[in-house]
Symmetry: C2
Subunit: 341 residues, 2 copies
DNA sequence: CTCAATTCTTTACGCGCGTAAATATTTTAT
DNA sequence: ATAAAATATTTACGCGCGTAAAGAATTGAG
C-alpha cells in the first residue's frame, strides 16, 4: 500500500508506464492483454489498490455487471437462505448482486422494480410476491430487463421459471403419511399469498383420491405474511371446533405448521408419531427453522442448492445470449423425517 | 405515459421548454425552483416517466445518496428484522439503502466493505460480526466513510455506537427469574461470535452477587453462527452430565435457548413455569421466532424500533454535518413473559 | 534475421450530468 | 410603473471511463 492516492485510471496507468486504454482493456478482461502487461498491472494493483470508478464505468458500458435479487420477504429465513445461495452464485460468476425484499407488500415490490431499472442490471432473479403482485408491472419490467422468475410463478413471464415441484412435494409427503398412519387432512390458508399453495392443495386432493381416502381441507382465515400467527390462531380455532377429521395434519407450509404446533402446545395436545401422542403434524418447505421446533417438524424440503443453481445458471446463460424459449423447471423435494409425523 | 423514449435530461428539458441546468436543479432539490417551474416539470415527469441516469449523477456529485446497511447474518431473522427497519428509515429520509450480509464470515465482511467503498456511500450502518471481525479493516473503513456501528460494538470506531443495554437486559431478566423461582444458571457459548455475550455473562454474575446466590455459568463448545445447533448439542451434553445446578436456565440469547428447548424435548424434559414442568428456560433478544417455540419463550426483547431509529438518525445527522464526539447509546429492553419461564 | 501477427500507444470523441459564470427574464416590493 | 431581488437561460467545462482508428512497438515463426 503506497501513500499516493490515485485519482483515476490515467494516473494509475501513468504510474506503471502503460497507456490508459490498455489498463481499461485489462479491467474489462484481464486475459485480453499480454501476460507480461497483465502481471505489471496486477503488481501495481496490489501496491496501490486502485479501483475504477464504478459510476464512470457503468455510464459508458451498455450493460452493467449488476444483478438484482428480489424476494418477497427477507425476514422469512427460507427466502433469506435462498437469496444467500443466489448471491454467492452471482459473485462466483463475476456479477455484482444486490438484494431486495418486498417486505410482503406489492407497493414495495413495484418500487423495487423501479429502482432496479435505474441500476441498469444485466439481469434480475425475481421471486414474486404471488397473488398480490402487480401483474402488469411485473410483465412490463420483464419486457425491459432480462428477468428469471423463481420460487413462485406468475403466468409465463420473464426468461423462464425455476422452482420446486409442488405436486411432487405434496404427493410424496402425503404418500408417506398415508403409509405410516391415518391419512392426513390438509391445513392451509384460505387466501394464501403464495400461489404454490394451490398446487399443493390440488396435489393433496389427487393423492387422497388415488389412495381412496376421503380428503378434508381446512382453510383458515388470515391475510399477509405473518404465517405462524395465522397458523396458530387458525389452529386454535380448528382445534376448538374439533375440525380435524383424522389425527394427521399436513400443513401447506412449514410456517403454518410452526403456528399449528404452538396452538397444539397451548391446548395441551401432544404432537408426534409415537403412541403417547394425539396427533401428527407435517409441514412443507424444509424451512431452516423446522429442525428446531418441538417436536422437530417432519417436512419435505426444497432442494435449495439445485433451485438456486438452476435459476442462476439459466439467467447467466440468457445474459450471455443463449436465449431459449420460455420454460418452467420444477425440482423435486426431499422428505425429511423427524418426530412430528 | 407517452411513447417517446427520453434519452437524457437535455431531451427531457427540451420537451417542456426548460433549460437543462434548471431541470438538474429541480432533481437535486425540487424546492430550489419556482413553484410554477416545478409544477411544469412534475407534470412532464408524470407523463414521460424520465429518470436521471444514476451513474452520471453519482459520478458528478461529491457524495451520493447511497447508504450501506451491513449485518453479520441476514438468515438470522433478528438481523433481517432490524435491517428491514433501518432500510425503511433510510428510504423515508431520502436515501438509497443497499443491504449486505457478511454471512457469518470475516472475509465476506471485508469484501463487503471493499465493495461499499466503490458505491461512494453517504454513510454506512454497520453491525460488525464481532470477535471475528478484522478490526483494522473496520477501522480503516470508518476513517474513510461515515459509519455508524450498531448492535455490537468494536472499540470506539465510527461515528458512534447504538445498540442495546446488555447489562440491563440480563439484570432485568435475572431479577425476574430470581423473584419467581429458583435463581438461574447461565447457559452460553464458550467463544461467542457476538461480544454482547460477555456483557450478558458479567451482568448475570453481578445480579447473582447482588441477590446473594451462587452463580453458575455453563459455557458450551461450538464455533460460528449455527447457534440453535450449538445450543441443542451443548444442551444435550449438559443435560446428560446433569450440569445444571438449578431448575432455571437463562440463555445468553434466544437462538441458544431455542436449541436448548429442542434438546429438552429430545430428552423428554418438560419446560415451563407451571408445577408439571421440570425446568424453566429463558432467552434474550426477543427473536422474531421466540413467540412460536414450544413452550413460547420468555425473553427480554430489543427495542427494535428505538435502536434502528437512534442508529439511523445519528447517521443522518452526521451526514448533514452535525459531527458530535463519539458516544455509545444503549437502549433498554422489555421483558416478554411467556410460558417457558 | 525477416516478416507477419499480435499487442500496445496515441489521439480523439462521447456518455449524461453537475456546476459555475454571465446574461436575460421574471417576480416582488416600493 | 420602476427598481431591486429572485430565478432562468446560455454557455462552457469537467468528471472518469469506454471505445474506435491509426500507427508504433513487440512478439513468434520460419
Amino acid at each position: 500500500m503506497a501513500k499516493v492516492k490515485i485519482r483515476n485510471m490515467e494516473e494509475f496507468a501513468g504510474l506503471i508506464g502503460i497507456s490508459r486504454p490498455t489498463v481499461s482493456k485489462f479491467f474489462n478482461d484481464p486475459d485480453s492483454v499480454r501476460p507480461k502487461t497483465r502481471a505489471k498491472i496486477e503488481a501495481a494493483l496490489a501496491q496501490h489498490n486502485y479501483r475504477p470508478n464504478m459510476y464512470a464505468v457503468n455510464q459508458n458500458r451498455k450493460l452493467t455487471k449488476n444483478v438484482g435479487i428480489v424476494v418477497p420477504l427477507l425476514v422469512d429465513p427460507y427466502f433469506a437462505e435462498i437469496a444467500r445461495n443466489l448471491e454467492q452464485r452471482c459473485i462466483d460468476a463475476g456479477y455484482r448482486p444486490t438484494l431486495f425484499s418486498a417486505h410482503g407488500t406489492p407497493s414495495h415490490e413495484v418500487e423495487i422494480l423501479e429502482n432496479l431499472r435505474a441500476l441498469k442490471p444485466a439481469g434480475v432473479l425475481l421471486a414474486p410476491l404471488g397473488r398480490a403482485s402487480d401483474r402488469k408491472a411485473l410483465e412490463k419490467f420483464c419486457d425491459d430487463v432480462p428477468t428469471l422468475i423463481f420460487d413462485s410463478s406468475v403466468d409465463e413471464i420473464g426468461l423462464a421459471f425455476v422452482g420446486s415441484d409442488n405436486f411432487q412435494f405434496t404427493a410424496h409427503i402425503s404418500d408417506y403419511l398415508c403409509r405410516t398412519g391415518e391419512p392426513p387432512c390438509f391445513f392451509e390458508m384460505k387466501t394464501p399469498a403464495n400461489p404454490n399453495a394451490h398446487r399443493r392443495r390440488q396435489s393433496y386432493l389427487n393423492a387422497m383420491e388415488k389412495f381412496g381416502y376421503d380428503a378434508q381441507v381446512i382453510s383458515i382465515d388470515g391475510e399477509g405474511w405473518e404465517i405462524e400467527e395465522i397458523g396458530r390462531v387458525g389452529g386454535l380455532d380448528a382445534l376448538a371446533k374439533d375440525a380435524f377429521s383424522t389425527n394427521t395434519i399436513l400443513c401447506s407450509n412449514d410456517r403454518l405448521a410452526i403456528g399449528l404446533l404452538t396452538a397444539c402446545y397451548e391446548r395441551g395436545i401432544k404432537v408426534g408419531r409415537d403412541a403417547t401422542c394425539t396427533i401428527r403434524v407435517a409441514g412443507q418447505d424444509g424451512h431452516p427453522h423446522s429442525r428446531y421446533t418441538c417436536p422437530p417438524l417432519t417436512t419435505i424440503s426444497h432442494d435449495y442448492d439445485a433451485v438456486s443453481k438452476a435459476a442462476a445458471s439459466a439467467l447467466f446463460a440468457a445474459i450471455d445470449g443463449d436465449i431459449e424459449p420460455w420454460k418452467s423447471t420444477r425440482l423435486e423435494g426431499k422428505l425429511i423425517l423427524r418426530d412430528s409425523a
